[in-house]
Every structure is written in C-alpha cells, then in structure tokens.
C-alpha cells in the first residue's frame, strides 16, 4: 500500500494544491483572512523546526515575528505617510510626539527617529525583517549554547526576552507607535505589483512564500545535517562524542527558524496592515507552540496545517463570544491531551491510523 514516503509526498502535494486552488472558491474578503492563516501556518513550521527537530522550545517566537513585522511596518508606514514640510515622509504619530521646533525631517523629528531613515526603501525593510531576527537569534542561541543552559531555562529566557522587547516597544512610543502600534500604511510594491491585502495576487504571493518555506525546510531536514540535528535533540552528549559541535547545529537551525518567523511577520503586516506590541505577548508566542503541538511538532506540514486549522475554526466561531471562549477551552483540553498522550499531535495520529489500515509495523520516519 502506501509507504511512509509516498504518503508524505501525497500530503504535501494535496496541501499545496489546496492552497492554490482556494482562490477559485473564495471571495477576496475571506481570501485575505485565509492569507493570515497561511502566515500563521508559516509560524507553525518555524516552531516545528526549532522545537520538533532541534529540540529547542522557543517561547519567544513572537519576538522574531514582531521584529519582522515592525521592520516592514516602518517601510510601509513611510510609504503611506506624507511629507510634513521637509524632504522625507513623517509618520503621523511622530508628528504628535515631535519635539518643539524640531525640523520635520525623519532623522530629527523625535529622539531615535534616525532609525527610520533607511526604511524609506521597502526592500531594506524587507531585508531587515529577515536579517535582524536571524542575527539576534544567532546571538541568543550562541550564548545559551555555550553556557549549556538547560531546556527549561531556554524557555524562561526566551519568554523573558520577548516580554522585555514588548516593554521597550511600548516605552519608546515616539519611534514605534507605542501601545497602539503602527497603522495606516501603504502597500508593498513587489516589482510593480502593489500588494493590496484584498487583492488575489497578494494571497498568491503569500501562498508561494509558504510553499517555498515548506519545501525548503522539508528538504533541509532530510539532509544529513537534519539527521544530525535530530540526533542532537535525542542525545546531545552522544553527538558530541562523535565530534559534532552541538552548538553550531543548534545555532544554524535556530537562526533559520527565526528567519522564517521574521518572514511570517513581514507577510502578516502586508496582509493585515498593522503591527502591534501584542505580537510580543506571551500568549501569542505560546499559542504558536500550541498550534505546532496540536498539528504535530515533528511534522513541518502537520504544524502548518494545525496552525491554519485552529485559526480557521477559531475565526468562524468568533461570531459569538461565548462560543469563542468555549473553543479556546477546547483547545486547552486538546493541547493538554496531546502533551499527555499524543506527543506527535494530529499528524502522528493520522500516520498511525494509515499504518494500521495498511497493516504495517515499525516506526520508520
């Protein structure tokens, strides 16, 4: 019947086909919402890579997401802002916070606004949205790896860093828009194509990005490096005594996971037109972990589908407040059940089911 490999290939093909066929059946409004779910799917994939494959429970994925989001937000805000008498566009909240007698130039209007200057280029914003999370993640992973800090502490530290980031974001409101975040932006200009959130092409761009990320990471974990990474996750010491630098592998994959999260942040802002400090709430970061756990942390596609599914259902139910709470209660229960009894989530359940049906033994992955 179906071998594991064939089953997996089929799932990927089915999923990719599904997301590309969807626009034929959905109107722009729903499509735009679904595009956000795809972005969350990308977050699920990032978590799966860092947690399921590398064994690093990152409770601060929201931070990398947020950095990506704010980077592109800076650029898109400028794209949507007018000049205020000077030579550069000035975001509205900066005008409100302006120092008296400050020239209406981006580098001088408020303390710290010079950071915004290079973001006048959208591609700079895009690049920073991927690079800064990557560099930051590399730094964090390197420091934590060298000090051989245990898994629990990694979780606590990543969580604290995210909260720290949120505090700073809110505090420096003259540069970041503070509590309210950044709104009223322009559209991203993709080589002449304007990415209006309610435009079908925007959906396709996001679908393409998700597909590239999925296939790219799937390939990456199938290489020898991916295998060694799983060995490290299983038994760090054994890997060391074989000559592998545990720290190097962890840093590499953690950085990639962060870059994917950053890309997700960028795409999210493009499709939802706002960036907010709530991206750095504990709840958001942990919720991503919940999506990946429910979908199946050791399956990139599983985590992706888990995220999309949970968000889709949640959104459908959000019409009624108490239904929404009930749904979240259910998620809590499902999550608990998965931690206790189904570590491989729904993807694991599905694979076991298919194996049982085709009467095969063994646990080859």
């Amino acid at each position: 019947m179906f071998s594991d490999k064939k089953l997996e290939a089929l799932s990927y093909i089915a999923f990719i086909a599904f997301i590309f066929i969807l626009p034929l059946f959905m109107d722009e409004f729903w499509l735009s919402r679904f595009a956000k779910y795809l972005v969350f799917g990308m977050c699920g994939v990032a978590i799966s890579l860092s947690w399921g494959y590398a064994g690093i429970l990152n409770l601060g994925q929201g931070m990398f997401f947020g950095i990506g989001a704010y980077s592109i937000a800076f650029s898109l805000k400028l794209a949507g802002s007018d000049k205020a008498g000077g030579s550069t566009p000035i975001p509205d909240f900066m005008l409100l916070n302006a120092e008296p007698n400050a020239p209406p130039e981006l580098g001088q209007i408020v303390t710290g606004s010079w950071i915004w200057v290079p973001f006048q280029s959208q591609w700079f914003g895009f690049a920073m949205g991927l690079l800064v999370p990557g560099v930051f993640a590399g730094l964090v992973a390197y420091i934590l790896g060298r000090s051989r800090v245990s898994g629990v502490y990694v979780a606590i530290i990543t969580l604290s860093l995210t909260l720290l980031g949120r505090l700073l974001l809110v505090d420096q409101q003259q540069v970041t828009g503070g509590f309210n975040g950044i709104t009223n932006m322009g559209y991203f200009d993709l080589f002449g194509l304007e990415l209006d959130p309610y435009f079908k092409n925007t959906y396709y761009v996001i679908a393409i990005c998700l597909t590239v990320v999925l296939l790219g990471l799937r390939w990456l974990v199938s290489t020898k490096a991916g295998l060694i990474l799983q060995g490290i996750r299983d038994n760090q010491n054994r890997a060391r005594y074989l000559g592998y630098s545990v720290s190097a592998y962890q840093v590499f994959f953690f950085v990639i996971s962060a870059i994917v999260a950053g890309l997700a942040g960028v795409l999210y802002v493009i499709v939802s037109e706002f960036a907010s400090p709530t991206f750095l709430d504990i709840t958001f970061s942990v919720t991503m972990v919940v999506w990946a756990a429910v979908g199946g942390r050791t399956s990139l596609l599983g985590a992706c589908i888990g995220a999309i599914l949970l968000n889709y259902v949640g959104a459908t139910l959000s019409e009624t407040e108490s239904l929404l709470y009930a749904w979240q209660l259910l998620i809590g229960v499902i999550f608990l059940a998965i931690v206790l009894w189904l570590p491989n989530g729904l993807a694991g359940l599905a694979t076991d089911l298919v194996r049982k049906l085709s009467g095969r033994k063994g646990t080859a992955t």
């Binding site: 199938s222 290489t223 020898k224 799983q230 005594y241 074989l242 190097a248 646990t363 992955t365």
Partner: protein, 268 residues
C-alpha cells in the same frame, strides 16, 4: 619461553623504538572537593595496542576516561594524542582528533532508528554546511554496511534503538564506534550486563578492532580479559599501580598487596 626481568626491559625498549607511544597520559589529576579521584596517573599506549585497565571500584578508571574524553576537566597533568596536547579540550574537538568512547551505560540515539544511529556515526565530516549538502540515500555506505554485518543488526535497521535488548544496544554503540573509526577507542565495561554468549561475541568484535585501532578497555570480567588481552594496566587510588601481561599482573606482589590478602586480581 619465560623471559627474565632484564630481558623484559630490553624487549620493552626495543618496542618503544619500533613503535612510538601515540597516546600518553602524563601526571593527570583531578580532584572533586578535595578528593583526588585521579592522582598523578601515567599511561602510555602504543599504536594498535589493546590495553586493559583494571582496578577496583573507585580506583578512578571511569574518571580517567572522563578526563581523556573531555567530559571532566582535569586540574593538572597532560593528555597527548600523537604528540598533540589535547588536555581539557572540548569533547567534540577531542572526538574529532581521534578518540571515540563507549560508555558503561549504553549511550545511543534511542528515539532514532538503528539505521539513523549508524548514519550519524559516520562522522568523517562534522561541519554544518558540509552536511547540509549531503543527502541520505537508501543504500548504506560501505563502512556502515560492514559495521551492520559485524554487529548482526541488519534485521532491526528500521526499528527504534529503544527497543533493542541490552546486549544489542551495546553492540550498536560498538558498531557506531566502528563507523566512527577513531584512532583511539575507549571502551568502558563493554560486557556489562551481558550473557556468556553475548560476551563471547563482543570479544570477537573487539578482536576484529585490534591492530587497526588503539584500544583502552575497562573491564572486570577476567575471562573476557584473558580472551582479548595483551597488556594490562592496574589502577589503584587514582594511580598507575602496575603494568604487564595477564600472568605478570596475576603474580605481581604490588597488586596482591593492594588487594590485601585476596587471591590477587585473578579473582576479581
């Protein structure tokens, strides 16, 4: 033909000229909270030799292995491999330099399959980028195939390592060492918990390793030791107490004194 003590020394000198000691431990020491677990240990192992390390519990044998492989940092002395000073290097760098270790409690990748365990043990290239460019095919590389055949684990290649029996797990670890192909192999009680049959097979596997690798084995099972051994080093209270062949050690006065009236180490 029994050699006299004088002749033994001559033979030793000749040996030293012919093959250099490629693994040297010099005055190695480590103390934990004032207790010297290893106290000025000296050891020279020659290329291709199989050396057995004997000693009572607490003599410092496993600690010595920890020090050599980098698991514990020493507080004095040196470890030299091929003349290179690798004292207190990080574990993975020591491993890359050519030291492989098998632990007392089998230490494999339990949740991965046997096949995956062997593949990871193929660590000729350890860098991230070089391994990103390597795929994993269905056919096993030659050296892995050889190890699989030698350890007779071909039937369970696609099962998780966790389901292996104790003996099979030990062989998996030894097999991985084969694949790793280090210059110096440290074996910490490779037959611990094995049946007589399993012990015999382990002796066969280890004998195959002789000559192409330098091996240091910690063991208690004297029957096993006699089957594989060339030279023995006896460790006592963190020091090198005596060295020699099985017969010499069994008859050594120093060893007998250390074991205080017991029948000597032959009854360990």
């Amino acid at each position: 033909m029994m050699l006299s003590g004088h002749d033994l020394k001559l033979v030793e000198r000749v040996n030293m000229i012919q093959s250099s000691a490629n693994f040297v431990v010099e005055n190695l020491e480590v103390s934990f909270n004032g207790f010297k677990a290893v106290d000025g240990m000296n050891l020279k192992i020659y290329d291709g030799e199989l050396r057995v390390l004997l000693g009572a519990n607490g003599a410092g044998k496993t600690t010595l292995m920890d020090l050599i492989s980098g698991r514990t940092k020493s507080t004095g002395g040196k470890v030299l491999l091929n003349g290179k000073n690798i004292t207190n290097w990080e574990e993975h760098l020591i491993a890359r330099e050519g030291i492989g270790r098998k632990f007392q409690i089998p230490n494999v990748f339990r949740e991965l399959t046997v096949r995956q365990n062997f593949l990871i043990a193929d660590c000729r290239q350890t860098g991230v980028f070089s391994n990103v460019l390597k795929g994993i095919g269905r056919t096993l590389p030659e050296n892995v195939q050889y190890a699989v055949e030698l350890t007779e684990l071909g039937d369970v290649l696609d099962r998780e390592a966790a389901i292996l029996s104790h003996g099979q797990t030990q062989w998996l670890e030894i097999g991985m060492l084969l694949v790793q192909n280090p210059q110096l192999i440290l074996l910490d009680e490779p037959t611990a918990g094995m049946t007589a049959q399993e012990t015999q097979k382990t002796a066969e596997i280890i004998t195959r390793l002789k000559g192409q690798h330098t091996i240091l084995v910690v063991e208690h099972d004297m029957g096993f030791v006699r089957a594989i051994c060339e030279r023995i080093t006896v460790m006592h209270q963190g020091r090198n107490l005596a060295e020699g062949t099985v017969k010499e050690i069994e008859n050594s006065e120093a060893v007998k004194a250390a074991y205080l009236g017991s029948g000597g180490i032959g009854h360990a």
